[in-house]
């Protein structure tokens, strides 16, 4: 067993570093560091995605035949770590990590040919139409209905918590196409053009003041039958496949490590009156550091298993559960550290576009907002309670 990289892997790391140094501008870095939403604003993401696309590095997890770079699991890890350490903007996972893999697995050849290149280039921006008012983590209870009329479905209903629906031009949605005794049956996976007549988007403002999520209404929206993915009534299979990617396919510890590094920088700086000199802050940072190291090692073991062609096992819920809790611990200690500077509430967005001088240093404005938004970590993508249920059922056999 070895944690160290081979000479080839070190060469690859240098290559990634050189690329980032050449293509990630200081403006992008600053904007990205002031980004407090889960997804970066399009003006931050688009130039970075374009740079990655030119190099063929936009979708590390995709097979080469669909435009992936054909990396080993370790190379993916190195790439994710270097991007996170440099503070590069995070690409939206909706296309690359979520609908992309579903299309590769269940889509028709026309769907693959049309959508996959547009995901890579960033030409299409996707949002996810899963949750509905009243359904929450009980996704199978969804009610949005699609009724077939000739070569179209007519969609009526509403979706909620739709992240960046207001920036997206396409949605992948789970809709009910028939009523079956088992709720999971009769659900279909549809691709919806957001420019279709009958779609209304209502912004939902978060406690931080951010506009990340929306409610989306469908009033007689026509969707071509060719936009059905997989079989009608078998959408649950696609949806579950996608959720597995959402939970376990991600590598979280490099991002968490970067977030912790930023907090540690803050603790060492005058911005926090050198909070690190207080033993309770120093030990709290060590505690979180050890949580990150543990998660990192668990993720690396999954990568090692994947690399030798094994199934990682039912560990994805463990990783999701811990990653979301650690994320919150990091943002919480950030708030503790800045003391009374936490009193200032800046609700204007995006922070990187503000051009007046705030009453506290710019870097501190993001601390509280990030903490507030981070509370959603243990709620979205299957709440922590749902993850514990999954562990109890699938791992412990309860």
């Amino acid at each position: 067993m070895s944690l160290s990289f081979t000479p080839d892997e070190l060469r690859f790391r240098d290559e990634v570093r050189a690329f980032i140094a050449a293509r990630l501008s200081p403006e992008l870095r600053r904007a990205s560091s002031l980004n407090v939403s889960f997804f970066s604003y399009p003006d931050i993401v688009t130039p970075w995605q374009r740079a990655l696309h030119e190099r063929g590095w936009v979708a590390p997890g995709w097979p080469q035949e669909h435009g992936g770079p054909g990396w080993t699991a370790t190379q993916r890890w190195i790439f994710e770590s270097e991007c996170a350490a440099a503070g590069a903007p995070q690409l939206s996972p909706m296309g690359i990590k979520m609908v992309g893999p579903v299309l590769m697995r269940f889509g028709t050849s026309e769907q693959k040919k049309f959508y996959l290149p547009r995901i890579l280039s960033g030409e299409d921006r996707w949002c996810q139409g899963y949750s509905e008012p009243g359904s929450g983590s009980d996704l199978a209870s969804l009610k949005t209905r699609a009724v077939r009329h000739g070569d179209h479905y007519i969609v009526n209903g509403t979706k909620i918590w739709t992240t960046h629906a207001h920036f997206a031009n396409r949605m992948f949605a789970l809709v009910r196409t028939s009523d079956e005794p088992r709720q999971q049956d009769g659900i279909s996976f549809l691709l919806i053009d957001m420019a279709s007549p009958g779609i209304t988007i209502r912004p939902i403002t978060m406690i931080s003041g951010d506009h990340d999520v929306n409610q989306v209404f469908f009033d007689g929206v026509e969707v071509p039958v060719t936009n059905l993915v997989g079989e009608e009534g078998r959408g649950w299979t696609c949806g579950k496949y996608l959720l597995e990617f959402e939970r376990g396919g991600g590598i979280n510890s490099p991002k968490l490590r970067h977030a912790l590094e930023k907090v540690r920088e803050l603790a060492n700086s005058d911005l926090s009156c050198k909070a690190i000199s207080h033993p309770e802050i120093a030990t709290k940072l060590s505690d979180i550091e050890l949580d990150v190291q543990t998660l990192e090692f668990l993720e690396l073991r999954v990568l090692s298993a994947l690399q030798r062609g094994e199934n990682p096992g039912p560990v994805s819920s463990v990783l999701k559960l811990r990653a979301s809790e650690i994320h919150q611990a990091i943002s919480r200690v950030g708030v503790e550290m800045i003391g009374q500077n936490a009193l200032v509430e800046e609700r204007r967005r995006p922070l990187h576009a503000l051009n007046d001088e705030p009453i506290i240093p710019e870097e501190l404005l993001s601390v509280v907002a990030r903490h507030l938004n981070g509370r959603a970590n243990t709620i979205f993508g299957g709440s922590s309670e749902i993850q514990r249920d999954i562990i109890a059922k699938q791992v412990l056999g309860l």
Binding site: S2, T283, S304, D389, I391
Partner: protein
């Protein structure tokens, strides 16, 4: 980067699992506790036959040439079975110190005797609370024309009653700047007093006092220099090994709790049918996985040739993380067993007590958290 266990490591785990399953059931554990030595000597001979007593030693002295990763594998399985053999005292502490600091002659005499199971050693170091650190030593060894004269008192000496030789740390007031030295003290040397007691959860522990104990000139381990850095390294590696052992104990407690909550019925349904119980079990499972990962991770940078700051960070870090997880898993396991959890009839209590021993040995969670924070700050400012 590859965290795949090697074929040899897989085989070692497999045979350790089998050995523990065959030799460490409830009756055997209770039996071992009644033994005045705290363990069964025939088990020690079996460990020798399997080659495990030589695991961390170089092949030149008859060892197996293994490292902390192999030691962790073995210790995790020892933990699952709650083995009480003095592997930590004889092999990981005293034995490793001989391999690192001993003269050629001391190594050639003592290491083969350890490896073949003939000779047992204790490591007598701490004199006050482990929270004070490893350097708080007041025992003195004065040079005498016939050799050395040892004076002092050691506490919480593991497995002293079964040891043939005690390895004792002492200051050398006559030797300028020499710091700490280690001495090999035969159990029957004049002026050695041993007060032995059962150790929490199995095994033995003792207080050792040395009153004008006369030792020959070659009783000193090695020929000179301060041994504190070597002790620090050996203790860091021992901590990593103990973390693996604790992860094994946690797993046994968790498995027992999972089985129990599936079977035990209250209000006409199994305890595990309640969401609050299921979630607690899920958290315990997560903590078992975390402890196991952190123990495995700690084994990688604690090797003898590693950078001392990285080694200490890994050991202290694992002690903190595994310690926190261990406490929660142990306390929840007892809680979920209800009143049965606090009876002496189940082995659960033995595991609970042994995890308390893990917490108390070589410094608490808080001690190591502070050590980690300090080292982490230092290593970053370099």
């Amino acid at each position: 980067m590859d965290l795949t266990p090697s074929e040899a490591q897989r085989m070692l785990r497999h045979s350790a699992e089998r050995f523990i399953a065959e030799h460490y059931d409830q009756a055997a554990r209770r039996h071992a506790m009644q033994d005045p030595m705290g363990f069964k000597r025939e088990n020690w001979r079996k460990l020798a036959d399997l080659g495990w007593l030589g695991l961390p030693f170089p092949e030149e002295v008859g060892g197996f040439g293994g490292g902390p990763v192999e030691v962790a594998i073995l210790m995790e399985e020892f933990g699952r079975g709650l083995a009480t053999e003095p592997y930590l005292s004889t092999v990981l502490l005293a034995g490793t110190l001989i391999a690192e600091c001993g003269t050629q002659e001391q190594q050639m005499v003592l290491l083969p005797a350890i490896i073949n199971g003939e000779r047992l050693l204790s490591f007598a170091h701490y004199e006050s609370d482990a929270r004070a650190g490893l350097s708080e030593i007041h025992t003195v060894a004065q040079a005498d024309n016939q050799g050395w004269m040892l004076h002092g008192r050691k506490m919480a000496v593991l497995d002293a009653v079964s040891a043939d030789v005690h390895m004792v740390s002492a200051r050398l007031p006559d030797v300028q700047g020499a710091g700490l030295a280690l001495f090999l003290v035969p159990k029957d040397a004049a002026g050695v007093r041993l007060r032995d007691a059962p150790r929490l959860g199995g095994g033995r522990v003792a207080e050792l006092t040395f009153e004008r104990t006369l030792l020959p000139p070659d009783a000193r381990l090695g020929t000179g220099g301060d041994v504190l850095p070597a002790i620090e390294g050996v203790v860091d590696r021992a901590i990593a090994a103990l973390c693996a052992e604790a992860a094994g104990m946690m797993r046994s407690m968790f498995d027992a709790t999972l089985d129990y909550t599936k079977v035990r019925k209250q209000f006409d349904r199994p305890l595990a049918a309640n969401q609050v119980i299921r979630h607690r079990l899920a958290d315990m499972y997560v903590q078992c996985e975390e402890a196991r990962a952190m123990a495995a991770r700690a084994a990688l940078p604690v090797g003898a040739d590693s950078d001392s700051t990285q080694r200490s960070l890994a050991a202290s870090g694992a002690k903190v993380k595994v310690g926190r997880c261990a406490r929660n898993v142990a306390e929840q396991a007892v809680q979920l067993h209800g009143a049965m959890g606090v009876t002496d009839e189940l082995d659960l209590g033995l595991y609970f007590k042994r995890l308390l021993v893990f917490e108390a040995l070589f410094g608490s969670v808080d001690y190591h958290l502070q050590r980690h924070a300090k080292l982490f700050g230092n290593s970053r400012s370099e």
